[in-house]
Symmetry: C2
Subunit: 125 residues, 2 copies
């Protein structure tokens, strides 16, 4: 079975602080991102932290999407880790505008690569 | 507030296939890894997939630990994403032997870095 996967790490700055503190809105946004990435959510956990911020994870088959937010600085760290035909770039394309981010940075990692070479590789910054 | 975090991506090959198909054992192992990393679990989801494999995530305050397994090839992909004083290397040091991995590869990413430079940086391969 093919274990190849792509893991897109995304950083969002200058986001809407109210949105970053709203677990219901963030779960809706991440579920829309999962749909855009063509992956199927099997579990989800979104929790508001004290005094502020949200930690949320959507478990998909064989991988996950996650978001962790800091409303006080307008920053969010997201991961779109997908296998097979999943489209992590499509999740990112939806999430940046969805969070009203002023600036985004991404790093794409290829994982589970077949041997004899490395299993893990930075594909694009 | 400091948003700096470290995200260690770990790949394990040649693992014990029975262990990779056991969500209860994997949750116990990842909870021990969270303790080693000095982070506090706030939520956990571990699920066995059909026909085999496990997807598991432990949400910690402001970040997460995760594992996704392919028993048929002895491969597991793990993430140890920790903020502040968390020790993702300690989680990795525990997980490799815990999975009986013959070979491991890691990539450490620094995230949430203060401006004006990049927010995200490959720290070590």
């Amino acid at each position: 079975m093919d274990t190849r996967a792509r893991h897109l790490l995304a950083e969002y700055h200058g986001c809407d602080p109210g949105l970053l503190d709203d677990p219901v809105a963030l779960e809706a946004l991440l579920r829309a991102a999962a749909e855009a990435a063509r992956v199927r959510a099997v579990d989800a956990q979104f929790r508001r932290l004290a005094p502020q911020g949200v930690s949320g994870v959507i478990v998909i088959e064989e991988s996950h999407l996650s978001i962790h937010t800091w409303p006080e600085t307008g920053y969010a760290a997201a991961d779109f880790f997908t296998c097979g035909d999943g489209l992590p770039e499509a999740a990112h394309a939806l999430l940046g505008p969805g969070l009203r981010a002023a600036r985004a940075e991404v790093l794409l990692i290829e994982r589970g690569l077949p041997g004899p070479g490395p299993s893990l590789r930075v594909a694009r910054t």
